[in-house]
Amino acid sequence: MSSPPIWRLAPGQRLVHRCHDGECVLFNDLTGDTHLLGQDVLDVLGALRDMPRTAAGLAQDAGAALDPEWCAELDELLADLAALDLIAPDLIAPGLIEPLPGTQPC
């Protein structure tokens, strides 16, 4: 069974953004696109910039590790962010960052 991917902010992304009333615009340094995101999504990106982690780690940070519906949405979100080149699986140090104790896989 393969390990869940450890996500991090894509190299080169600086999260240049502007937020207004819970909605944010984000400049994608890699594609030149601008994305309209919720503040919560920007928070996810900020968390992955601060520390690469698995979906389970993110879920635990959000206090939702045991909510399967939330975890499924998070997996979908991470896939979408990866498709936009905003995040990438951490290929440099797989296995070095262990899921936090007690974390359930998403």
Binding site: V16, R18, C19, E23, V25, T34
Partner: protein, 305 residues
């Protein structure tokens, strides 16, 4: 100051046929070549107040509008547009020479002027404050713009809003206002003192006519304005004139969609739009009656005062 009108008809035609007419519109100088007498006459009428630079002055754009050669001169003659020797567009029927000139001038700016963020939007000003009206064709943008500039607002541009990259101010580019189809009659009735070109039918945009920019707007083409509002207009039959706030992040995305060079400018484009959105109030605007629409703009202005 030398202007198109002060050249006189003969000299205007001589320059167009010979060394080129160096025509200043806003921050740009265009060197125009054309042997077409009807185009010269319309240029003389619609651009009479505009500054002309002397021969040899540097020009930002070099354009040529010429007629057909060979049998085409007699059989459905056409007008051809050349930019720096290239022909970026298909020729059009000869009676569309002036609309083609206007579209070509827009193309020059929208495709080349990357020292500004160029937004596909009308922009007008009063008391130093500019309202930007971005909208797709058919939304009533030009009709609303034409009405406003005939009721005391200054025309900065009917089509291309030039946002400075360094300080976010709007540089004017006043040129004739393009009106289409039913809008032509509406504005003729609304502003009977304004000057219009003869309507040209069967263009790709339907019937088009151009309304001359006021002398005041041309004379003040060097006076930048501070953006105060972004209003996305939409004419809708029977609609009351009503503003609806647009959330700022969404306004950012819509402005980006309406800008010709947002992506090309990269992060600079992002910051320019972000600053613009920070500095203005943003609205959707539905209207059906021009006087009611103008009253709404006056109210916006009064609120700022």
């Amino acid at each position: 100051m030398l202007t198109v009108a002060s050249l006189g008809e003969r000299e205007l035609r001589a320059r167009l046929r010979g060394p080129g007419l160096r025509l200043q519109t806003g921050p740009f100088v265009t060197c125009v070549h054309s042997p077409l007498a009807p185009l010269a006459a319309t240029l003389g009428t619609m651009y009479g107040d505009y500054p002309v630079l002397e021969e040899g002055a540097l020009a930002d754009f070099h354009v040529r509008l010429s007629g057909s050669t060979g049998l085409r001169r007699f059989l459905r003659p056409q007008v051809h547009f050349h930019y720096d020797g290239m022909a970026p567009f298909q020729p059009l029927p000869l009676d569309q020479a002036f609309p083609m000139f206007e579209w070509a001038m827009n193309w020059c700016v929208s495709s080349q002027a990357n020292s500004w963020l160029v937004i596909h939007a009308a922009v007008i000003e009063k008391d130093g404050l500019a309202a930007i009206l971005p909208a797709p064709p058919g939304s009533g943008k030009s009709t609303l713009c034409a009405a406003l500039v005939n009721r005391g607002w200054r025309l900065l541009s009917d089509e291309l809003t030039l946002v400075r990259l360094d300080d976010g101010k709007i540089d004017p580019l006043p040129r004739p206002v393009s009106l289409k189809n039913a809008s032509i009659g509406i504005i003729r009735d609304y502003a009977p003192a304004a000057a219009f070109t003869r309507p040209v039918a069967d263009t790709v945009k339907g019937t088009v006519a151009h309304m001359r920019a006021s002398s005041d707007s041309v004379a003040r083409a060097g006076q930048a304005a501070a953006p105060a509002w972004i209003v996305f207009p939409k004419w809708q039959a029977g609609a009351a004139a009503e503003l609806t706030p647009v959330p700022q992040a969404r306004a950012h995305m819509r402005l980006a969609e309406n800008a010709f060079n947002y992506s090309l400018l990269g992060e600079t484009g992002f910051h320019t739009v972000a600053r613009l959105v920070d500095e203005v109030r943003t609205f959707d605007f539905h209207y059906s009656v021009l006087d009611d629409a103008i009253a709404v703009f006056e109210r916006l202005l009064a609120e700022r005062a």
